[in-house]
Symmetry: D3
């Protein structure tokens, strides 16, 4: 078919994994263009962190470790590179000396992707609010930390305030860890987010959590975000604020694989700090989670394309 | 209330975690005094180890990693620093060139704490014997190792012999690992300890183990001891004698959280060897386990205070 | 009895673990001879790897970490050194500059062991085909990688082709990870291997998998092979191609312990790459798995001896 | 004498180094007060870095590694704790989410120290400008980096502009490393700083460099600053921007020891990033350099005291 | 000028070092083409090693660490990217399962570069023999190792035999380390190579060694090869066969910088094994050495261009 | 000659270094017997350390890293395995729970070696006192540490007191590091030891230090001891009490090589702590120093044999 994607990652059965310049999952390094269906992007930024920095180097290490990713999903059989043109468009511009300026330049970069790739999100995202599937140890809905409103503890409160997220279509999974006070999760509760702490997760069981995800986000446009500290530190010691007692990779993979059929519009894995895990284990897990997101996103994009939305 | 604790740890929402001199859980460094309800103590000692040393440096690394601990328990809601005055009283005096002398000086240090803090243990501990909740890969009830009677393989036999522990109120959880011979656990069995090997643990399930803990220790004064090698080595590679196939942090946290209501008089986490885990992961887990113990201990102390025992 | 094994490993209750030259599980370093019942062998070879090398150093690190192994199995009570004469016969000869030559010299070394130890495998292995219990993230039944037919992705296809393995008596456990294409496992399926992917494993549960192992291999001569990447990377980051979402050590130990009674003729643990895990954690797990294999093998050898086969 | 300092660090011949809460060089943790002659201060801050962060954790690791420091200088015989009351006053307040705010709070903290300790710097520092002995791989006199004027590449230009430093009394030692352009060192040259690149250092020899230091700073008030990347990366891999071909610890120690007799008013060691060197080697070197600075500073303070300036 | 190079690396004063896909020294990733003056190439290959492998991953880690390289040489002032169009053309094709096949494909790749870039080496290299400046701990002129003639101990004997190198115009610097026998360096001596062992190096002093280099290679076409183990292991622990007592980075930098004016035609840095140095220190040094080679090569290329040879 | 040594280490040109059980320098593992000329011994003991333990694991790691040692000295041409029968006799018996008992068992082990190997030391060591060439950061002649007289800070005072060492024939090289007090080196000075601090070393230059060594020890029986912390920490971070500003490996090698012709009777390398340097770099240096000692010892033994003393 002339519609078959023309961008292909290097095949590790032919080109040894250790060779070639490292890009995400060995996809071609490309410019942002309408020939792309899905852009893989690095955001090398950690100015908003309140404890241990280092995730500014995350994209580099995830690119390196993603050499281990092959091309077909072993569980749901999805082969994203057959469904979509996927490329590594490099890193969003940032400035490690300017928190707010970086947020502006990152935003502009993503707006350009959105404008050029035209997987018409505008149509998909009616009132501008998306659903969110959020894996994390922390709710990230605080009002401020250290007297500051824009940091790694506050993004989802800000996003709700800005009308980007529909909190009633947001689910948070894996929350745990000692708390600053009694009300760390209050904002999420008050705005109607579905909160699945690790205690809840265990009580419900993974299957019910998967049902709950689908029920919460429904069939509207949905974004996935995976803070690597949602995983237990055994899977992700390379992160700034690890909290014991978290999700396993197996459970995370199964949950992400279960999202087939939802209207996924994109996703991210964040908070991977290479200096805190030079072995690359954390980044390896991040690369695998990223592949899972890619599979369900590519499937959704392909469906939208087939449905003539594009 | 004028009874509200006046000692407060640094609040990580206000003072960044990486700043300030490292004390346990960011509590104030204080002298032993009657103003304290609970003393956090380091015992930097590893002369009794028969393989890899290093736990003499454990308290330092746990203090460092305990910067990550906040103030409220996410599961049982306990906020120990609202219940009790908690301070870091530093390290018990030891001499790395004198095994028996160190045991004497450590004992004296704890006796001073007991005398000064007067959470009247004397009253609580009628005949001088306490119950023990013991998490470990090893029974630690051997008679001797390498011809020696006082080492990391023998403490609980010695404690029973000295009349400090009531073996019938002692439960051991997580035992596993290859054995020296057929009788490694014999002493515990013969004296009536409740032994929950990993095989037992799995067969019973965590909920039943929790029931068994409560049944075994009853409502008498109870001490908690967590040898970090009770955890699977994925959670605690920084220890001298790791044994695969162990407890998870999640299960350990849940078990410790379930001890609310028991008459907990204190506890310890031991065998953290920083040189064997420079990442601090093991110490991070130790700090979290220590916080769980602190929660249930503070709760018990507060109850005893309310009950007029103090 | 005069039949009691005369070769004994060092007893860690008497000789500290850190002392003495490192051999597998502290057994005597011996020559291949008929006085041995079971030979522990290193194969320091990694020329067939397509990504990260280093397992050539695996035997050295496993010997070092196997200092932690004691003498009695905590679950099935087996004490292999009471059942059999077990010794470390050193490493098979290899040449890191010659893939095919090394395979020839390794083969010759094992043939000599087989000839000299005369645990009459010839009688046991009627038509020359053995059953195989295979733990791995990868099927290792590809036809070729990088245009080559003899590498770490193809051994079991080659072995079936050479008539060494009866694929209908082979079970593969733990398969997962992204795939090169849709047919990575096809050869195994087509030849009748029993394939238990991680999805299958979870769906069946460990008990059923154990049943399936016994059903698949039956009572014929059976070999065990454990690619360390069958474990989740949290247990085995020191390996060339880690795949998240894998087996736990606990489950692996229980499965291996359940093999008592089968006609086990030997086994291996492979793909441990020390430079990728200087902590020794991966090698520690490998040493423990090796001990589990030794237990069930020693039990089988002893049974065969008692049955007059020797 | 009643003037003998009353603050004493722990003596490692009596209290084992691994014990007690970690403070700088085992000095007492104290409040800022006039009883102090010299305050040891942490500044856990790295917002101004343009590549790899992490030095916010530097003070914690230097405190830990400074357990190795004893009390007497082996070369110049200075014993700072006999000369001065020295204490660890903790960390200057910072906010990792606010670059300029942190600079303000750090400044305020040091101004308080200056006000309270009254080692009358005002008198010493006539027109407000100090001389500076600056060890570094980089000149740190750029006008801006990434469009920003306040970062780790610009401090000494800013300080000259603010009239804090007399550039003619400033010497830079150890400069090297690839350059952004032809004029990286231009500002220093233009303002009259004495620049000793590694090429110069080698050509002159250490003895002449020491002479040059004395000639440059003269007998005015002089500050020492040691960017740890002035050392060759073999001594300091734990830093954000290492440059091969640098100073040795031996040479650095000898140069610092040679400053006896100068009017040293203080100093700093900066850019130690613990996540990039978990072994603590970099921090160990930092602690030793800090001790050298302390020796010559204590000597100068004692002289000023004796001279009745205090 | 229209001759000014149009290919420019990212400027780290504008684009933070941690961002963007990692290429050698942040140069553009390009195809081999005549628009290039100098191609930066990775050769991810280590099949010829006899001890510890891992240098197959060297190019990836050197690319990552070369983010630290800026654009101007601090000593000789050379700015290679102003002199030449320099690009990263990726990795030569290799097959980790095929030693001889890989050598063929690597050779072909370099022949293509030579054909396309047409910095008319043919003219430069009259009789096909080049001079060589060789930094190494080992002579690498053995006849065979482990019965094999093509491995990391034999390349320069093979090259002389093939008429590629004029041994009388070859100098070896830094040789040391225990020897297999009395004649390890015999071939080099017999064929007239100039051998500067570490003992010679120290006896002569660096300045005389530099003179000797120029005398040996003369003004003919000259190639530079730097085996990273020529450095002392403190600078390069990430290599397979480290030998204590070696060259320093400072001396190596100065020697390479002194090559200005010679007819340098290219160079390599080899034997960097990332798994043996996850800190990246070895790769950082390799990147810096590579930059030094680039400077003198670019200078020579520019001179040849100006001389109308191109 | 029938006198030619019959014990040979594995030749790394034939047997790859990574293979075979690790013994010191790949020599045969043998029993103590009169067939041996020189015994290589491990003493896995660290009970006398006052800060960081771990050197109990030193022999194991040095054995592993000594795989890198070949057979001929590159500088003095000595080939110890042609001169003497050298074997690895394993480890002296120790008990990590018994400081004084271990010293007794170690002593007995060495007395047995002395008795059996009969390189008639009795004749050589007239009044029982030997000369000592001592490389170290510390004088190790304190009277006590932590109230204890037998520890790593006191051995040479004890040895002088016991009449084992002639202090006038003892030279200490490399002393440095902050001091406990003014008199740390007093005992050595008072008893007439020749003390070469790092300041002295630099002032004298290596050549003069070598002369001084020869002058001090004369032609009497002489023992070499190298505390690995004599090296700068860049060469030996894996040790308990590192002191910056120390000896280089190059200088150490040259000094040891210069001892040819002295009446060397043995030597040791101590304080290598593997957990503090998992890279093996420290142990690699230790193995190389050990080889240097072996060369000059073998030379001396061979001379004594030729002289008919044996």
């Amino acid at each position: 078919m002339n519609d078959a994607p023309h961008l292909k990652p290097l095949d590790s059965a032919c080109v040894p994994r250790f060779s070639a310049i490292a890009t995400f999952m060995r996809t071609p390094a490309v410019e942002i263009s309408s020939a792309l269906d899905i852009a893989l992007v690095g955001v090398p930024f950690d100015l908003g962190t309140t404890f241990r920095a280092g995730s500014r180097q995350g994209p580099a290490q995830i690119r390196e470790m993603s050499r281990l990713i092959r091309q077909v999903n072993p569980t749901n059989g999805l082969a994203p590179f057959r469904l979509c043109n996927v490329g590594d468009v490099g890193d969003a511009p940032v400035n490690p000396l300017d928190l707010m300026g970086s947020i502006a330049s990152i935003t502009a970069f993503f707006e350009r992707i959105r404008a050029v790739l035209h997987d018409a999100l505008e149509d998909r995202v009616g009132d501008g609010m998306v659903g969110v599937i959020h894996f994390d140890a922390h709710g990230d809905t605080l009002d401020e930390l250290l007297g500051n409103k824009v940091n790694h503890g506050t993004p989802f409160r800000r996003a709700v305030e800005e009308g980007l997220i529909d909190p009633k279509r947001m689910i948070q999974i894996g929350l745990r860890g000692t708390r600053y006070g009694d009300d760390d999760l209050r904002y999420g509760q008050d705005t109607g987010m579905c909160i699945v702490t690790m205690d809840d997760y265990e009580a419900m069981g993974r299957a019910k959590v998967i049902e709950q995800i689908r029920k919460t986000v429904g069939d509207g446009a949905t974004y996935i975000t995976f803070d690597i500290d949602g995983l237990d530190p055994v899977y992700a010691i390379g992160t700034g604020v690890p909290e014991p007692g978290g999700l396993s990779m197996r459970d995370s993979q199964v949950m992400l694989r279960s999202l087939v059929g939802l209207d996924i519009i994109g996703g991210d894995v964040c908070e991977v700090s290479p200096p805190l895990d030079p072995s690359g284990h954390t980044a390896l897990n991040a690369a695998n989670l990223m592949f899972e997101m890619l599979c369900v996103t590519a499937d959704a994009v392909a469906r939208r394309k087939r449905a003539g939305r594009r």
